[in-house]
Symmetry: C2
């Protein structure tokens, strides 16, 4: 069974995305509103939506733009935000999250999108889609507003795994570079390794080891290694891909979001302070909207799971229609670029499997 | 020799701060401009300034407000930003940083302020001032703009040590609570432990262990433990003190600063975009200045080293006159509150020295 066959197929073949309707903080209504918004903007997308059939049918019927473009697959159970990944793996077969991943596994859809529990989504994705050959720890990559010409950096891992040794960090560099090449159209991305200082002697032992591995691998791969970068460099034009472990990356991501949200709150308050500033705010409305669009976390919503046989986009748990639509847009772009296949080819050709082979360095430099 | 004796002493005794004039990115001119600004605002401060005598004498002479309030101690050498702490400890006796710490060690000054190399400053402070009895790893605490009534949270460690086990994290909680009580006047601060999720099963093993230790110690100490907090909670009104290891804390701090600086850059650009928005910016000038003052990292400049026999304030390496003046203000407040003595008393009474004593829990709960 292919996804196309299950659709009305009144037009050219569409890119099918598998969307978990449940598990987000705002429930299925926000998810359906989000995919409807994407459907209205982009006639090439179709959806398979997973969750309780009765409820979803009602929600989808209200959106005319989804008619004939949204198959519903019934799944009674929901993975809650506090569910333990291990339990979901054992008992989660009837959940909407499981069903959404299964559609990618079966080839019915190209990319899966979910707002649910990150740990459970990663655990299920690993078990059902399996890791790419040669990948030890998959990672979650996110896009980060930056001073780059392309307007975004890629940062990974932002929360797939709280651990990462030097070999994992090298793989993150490879996977992040591949994402930057295919997702941001950068033929030769600049890679930086996140640390507490840019001097080479600083930081943890595994970071020093990773520094040398990533530098060495740069000789035979299409990226430049800029060395250690600090938290303040993340939004800079020094670097396109920032590599770190999932604990640090997750804290950094949420800290940046928290900072942006505090500032925008203070900004609103500043503009309400006096009658004069209220007038100013009115005049500046367009400028402020433009800025808001640029830094709004909802508009860069969507972490991508890298290192699996299939692509999974994790949207924020608190995503509203705008957030869901932004995650869908990212999923569509990755599906279109054939990213999963390219990443698989790149990882298969990296030296990470041979990490203990002492002869590797001389071999690979001989191939230059 | 006391500091008062070495001054003109034309007035009531002043609080003497020891200031390292060298090692900052902007050189001694910025430091002298900063202390002059503080001197103009606060007649109760006097300074001992450390660095090359000839250069400093020239700079100080130009500031009339410093006349009779700034002793200069000659030190020829400078700790550079890329100096290794171990080398500074062995060969740094003639540096301005060493001299600045020595003045606190001798009792000539109450608090030391430096913009220099953080690692070297911490290493020298540990060797010369020594750790408080019962403290394993000293920490750097910073103030973080937040939605709290007091406008700031305390976060530690933001970079003294890249490692911290559960016992260190418990001590950070104690020290951070003491800082919040004395520096922010919060009789019962709320403490949170930084993690990648608020669920109790998440995160690294040492974080789970620290969670239980800090929760247990809350019973007999004057703080409330709110459990795990995430990066987004740092500027929230959920918590007054955020505890984390120095690697994570440093990345979070620099990431937040980088985010704030990106946003303010984009805000400036937004207001220059069209003639209308330029007019708006003019009208909103006061509001924007107020906001800028609130989130300007220079105005919350100054990390405090906690856990030593004496207080050291680390200013940003890139601090300008405003930044230095802000660090001096913090140093003055801490000197006035008798913070060092209070912290020492608090740490001495905590159960952390008895961390391996299994009978501790029943004993302390018996005393409740």
């Amino acid at each position: 069974m292919t996804a196309d066959a299950s659709h009305a197929a009144q037009e050219a073949p569409r890119t099918v995305l598998s969307v978990d309707a449940m598990g987000g903080d705002r429930g299925p209504a926000a998810v359906v509103a989000g995919i409807a918004r994407s459907a209205a903007k982009n006639p090439e997308i179709a959806f398979i939506l997973h969750g309780p059939e009765k409820e979803l049918t009602k929600l989808v019927k209200r959106r005319k733009v989804l008619a004939g473009r949204c198959e519903i697959r019934d799944a009674d159970e929901v993975v809650t935000m506090d569910a333990k990944p291990s339990q979901v793996m054992r008992k989660g077969k009837n959940t909407s999250m499981w069903s959404a991943i299964e559609a990618v596994r079966n080839g019915d859809a190209t990319v899966c999108v979910s707002c649910g529990n990150t740990g459970a989504l990663m655990a299920l994705s690993m078990v059902r889609l399996r890791k790419l050959p040669g990948v030890n720890r998959p990672a979650i990559a996110c896009l980060w507003p930056s001073r780059n010409p392309q307007g975004f950096n890629v940062m990974l891992d932002v929360g797939a795994d709280i651990r990462a040794d030097q070999h994992d960090l090298l793989q993150y560099a490879m996977m992040g570079a591949s994402y930057a090449r295919n997702g941001l159209h950068l033929p030769r991305p600049r890679i930086g390794l996140l640390n507490v200082g840019t001097e080479e002697h600083k930081g943890r032992a595994e970071l020093k080891a990773a520094h040398d591995l990533i530098e060495e691998a740069a000789k035979t791969n299409d990226y430049d290694f800029v060395g250690f970068v600090e938290g303040g460099d993340i939004p800079s034009n020094k670097v396109d891909v920032i590599v770190t472990d999932g604990f640090t990356g997750n804290v950094a991501l949420k800290t940046a979001e928290g900072t942006a949200s505090l500032i925008s709150e203070l900004l609103r308050a500043a503009f309400k302070f006096s009658p004069l500033s209220r007038i100013a705010a009115l005049l500046a409305l367009t400028s402020l909207r433009r800025l808001r669009k640029r830094i709004d976390p909802r508009r860069v919503n969507g972490g991508v799971f890298l290192g699996l046989n299939g692509t999974v986009v994790k949207s924020h748990g608190s995503a509203d229609a705008t957030g869901v639509s932004s995650a869908v847009k990212l999923a569509f772009q990755l599906a279109q670029s054939g990213f999963a296949e390219r990443l698989a080819a790149r990882v298969a050709s990296t030296p990470t499997q041979r990490q203990d082979d002492e002869t590797f360095h001389s071999e690979s430099s001989g191939q230059k």
